[in-house]
């Protein structure tokens, strides 16, 4: 009798390949080493965290959420509250509770607190919303985003309303961002092969059959929602530490749509799609930015007029979706067949060597 491989053995190559891609991007930053390029790579890692966060919910549940960027906002403000110098907070954000007002924590604690806080909020919101499905769920999540942004852009004493919150410690090295991106990929992968992830994906493909087989769709969705909400919070905190400034407007529709576009262009239902979508679209955007600044073609400098970059990225997205409606990866995972576990005729799996 043949013993089939476990799901871990069959799919382990996917996260390894994805992490290798991330490592190449990080190495590129290390080799080039200039300030602006470094910042670009940091931006890519932040996007990876956000888009993979979106994938965990959207990809596994099939419900499109417009509201996840709200959790990013929660995370970004959370880390801002904890890491800004107390003196600055006392003048600008008087309404904070004393314990936060006097705190001055390392940014690592800020990231952790942002993740937990966003996850907690996702749990409360998800508890109410996860019974909805389809387009009603999408709109409800959008309404959540609108509520969060409205509250944060008007609650003067706690969030500084529309004015930007400055003084967040800036972290300029690539490694913390790289580490978070890798962590998020690993967690997303583990979730998608976990019992809950498999149940949720079965519900995505055949809701009725899944619930007839005993899958509690609401519960599985809630689990995915909390994990992805926490990831979005982490992404927001990373964003806050990469630029040092947060405003509520940053976390509204533009960011929502850019992240969603990257996910859909890459392939909505696969983790590889999320990662590749970010890497490929970000690379195209970066190329176009260079062209916008002017490129030296044999002595004559050619520069694109302002606005062409955005038009080009829009056209590229439409063209990709026209030819690959299910995304660049066609919703498949990148994998390396039979690695690292060779499928042996006797059905015994060999442990990896090296």
């Amino acid at each position: 009798m043949q013993r089939s491989q476990t799901i871990l053995q069959r799919t382990l190559s996917t996260p390894v390949i994805l992490i290798a891609i991330l490592a190449i991007v990080a190495l590129a930053a290390l080799i080039v080493g200039t300030g602006p390029f470094n910042q670009t790579v940091i931006e890519i890692f932040i996007r990876i965290v956000l888009v993979v966060g979106l994938y965990v919910f959207i990809g596994n549940s099939g419900v499109i959420s417009f509201g996840h960027i709200g959790f990013t906002c929660l995370g970004a403000y959370m880390t801002a509250w904890l890491t800004i110098l107390p003196a600055m907070k006392k003048s600008k954000l008087k309404g904070l509770p004393d314990i936060i007002l006097n705190a001055k924590l390392h940014y690592g604690w800020g990231l952790l607190a942002a993740t937990i806080f966003a996850g907690l909020c996702a749990y409360i919101i998800g508890k109410v919303l996860m019974r909805l499905s389809g387009i009603a769920a999408s709109i409800a999540t959008f309404a959540v985003l609108a509520v969060i942004i409205q509250v944060y852009s008007n609650w003067d004493s706690v969030t500084g309303a529309q004015s930007s919150v400055v003084g967040i410690p800036i972290v300029r090295t690539v490694w913390p961002y790289f580490a978070c991106a890798v962590l998020v990929v690993i967690v997303a992968y583990s979730y998608s092969i976990s019992r809950s992830g498999l149940a949720l994906r079965s519900a995505r493909d055949e809701a009725i059959a899944a619930s007839a087989s005993g899958v509690d769709i609401t519960r599985e969705r809630l689990i995915a929602f909390v994990i992805s909400g926490a990831m979005m919070g982490l992404g927001g905190a990373l964003y806050a530490h990469s630029v040092g400034v947060v405003t509520p407007d940053t976390f509204y529709l533009n960011l929502t749509f850019i992240c969603l576009s990257m996910l859909v262009v890459g392939g909505m239902n696969s983790l590889s799609g999320a990662v590749l979508g970010v890497v490929i679209l970000s690379s195209i955007i970066q190329l176009l930015r260079w062209f916008e600044k002017g490129v030296d073609f044999g002595g004559s400098i050619v520069a694109l007029p302002l606005g062409v970059q955005e038009i080009a990225i829009g056209v590229v997205m439409i063209v990709i979706l026209m030819f690959r409606p299910s995304g660049l990866t066609r919703n498949k995972e990148l994998s390396w067949p039979h690695w690292p576990f060779k499928q042996l005729p006797a059905g015994r799996s060999r442990a990896p060597t090296g």
């Binding site: 909805l132 062409v308 299910s326």
Partner: protein
């Protein structure tokens, strides 16, 4: 009493705009299951078409100089034109794609239109003076109502009436309603898919143009972002009303407009900045109460 009347007119005129926007989105959703995020950018496009392209701060009025009886049809045709063009160039190729892909494609198209406008006109809002005479107040039972509000409401009612007549009493309207109910079945019975879909896009584009004209007259500025906010509310209204249901979209548009005006008038001053948060909170509860929207179509119900 006069204050009440004022709130009533505010609510109706805001609701009118939302209803027209929601109708534009619901028409296309009905025949194609496409949530068209480029709708807001059609609105901006129609407004900017009245200006001559220049990146200076001062606006050079171009089409806007035409007399109203020429200008209005021209803008309506332009709106229908860009909408149909986007169908032919982009959306036709997405007929069989899943809704998420279509949605992102429409968003990308809106992005292209927006930055095209930005390239031609720069991102600064420009002042545009259209029929400023209509912003004079009008006395009704002692309340001073801007004439424009009355015109907005009247125009909306006329458009709605015209649309109802078109949908109920013409061959094309009948085809469109059949297609919205069950597209595959309608095609089997000999309705041409392309004709119906292009018609829906043309109507939706005209609605965008009408909204654009009203918005431009109301605010006196042209801004590339001007359609975006309205489009979002309209989108929410379409879902709250029940996707694919045209009366539902109109009703929900008025409902949301009314709700925001009421809150603006009667919330305590401290809570007023949070008005939109309350409105969207209400939307969440509405969706939990009736996930399929207020007016559910029989064909939209899930059968097991």
């Amino acid at each position: 009493m006069t204050a009440l009347l004022q709130v009533f007119f505010d609510a109706l005129s805001l609701g009118s705009l939302y209803a027209l926007g929601a109708l534009g989105i619901a028409l296309i959703f009905g025949v194609m299951r496409l949530v068209n995020f480029a709708h807001g950018d059609y609105i901006a496009f129609c407004v900017f078409a009245m200006l001559w392209p220049s990146i200076d701060a001062a606006a050079i009025v171009f089409l806007g100089n035409l007399p109203a009886w020429v200008l209005i049809p021209v803008i309506l045709v332009l709106g229908a034109g860009i909408s149909v063009l986007s169908e032919i160039l982009v959306f036709r190729r997405f007929r069989n794609a899943n809704p998420a892909t279509m949605m992102i494609a429409s968003f990308a198209l809106g992005f292209v239109i927006k930055y095209f406008l930005l390239m031609l006109y720069s991102s600064r809002p420009k002042s545009i003076d259209l029929w400023s005479a209509v912003s004079l107040p009008l006395e009704i039972f002692g309340a001073r109502i801007p004439l424009l509000q009355v015109i907005t409401i009247a125009v909306t009612l006329v458009i709605l009436l015209g649309l109802v007549l078109f949908l109920k009493h013409t061959r094309y309207g009948l085809e469109m309603r059949a297609a919205a109910e069950n597209f595959t079945m309608a095609r089997m019975l000999g309705i041409r898919a392309n004709t119906v879909i292009m018609m829906a896009f043309a109507l939706s584009g005209m609605l965008a143009a009408a909204v654009g004209l009203i918005l431009a007259t109301q605010s006196g500025t042209a801004d590339i972002q001007m359609g975006a906010n309205l489009m979002l509310v309209a989108f929410v209204a379409t879902v709250v009303g029940g996707l694919g249901s045209l009366p539902g979209a109109v009703f929900a548009g008025f409902l949301i407009g009314g709700l925001s005006s009421l809150m603006q008038a009667y919330l305590p001053p401290d809570a007023r900045p949070f008005r939109d948060a309350f409105v969207y909170g209400a939307v969440i509860f509405m969706l939990i109460w009736r996930p399929n929207g207020l007016f559910t179509q029989k064909s939209a119900k899930q059968r097991v």
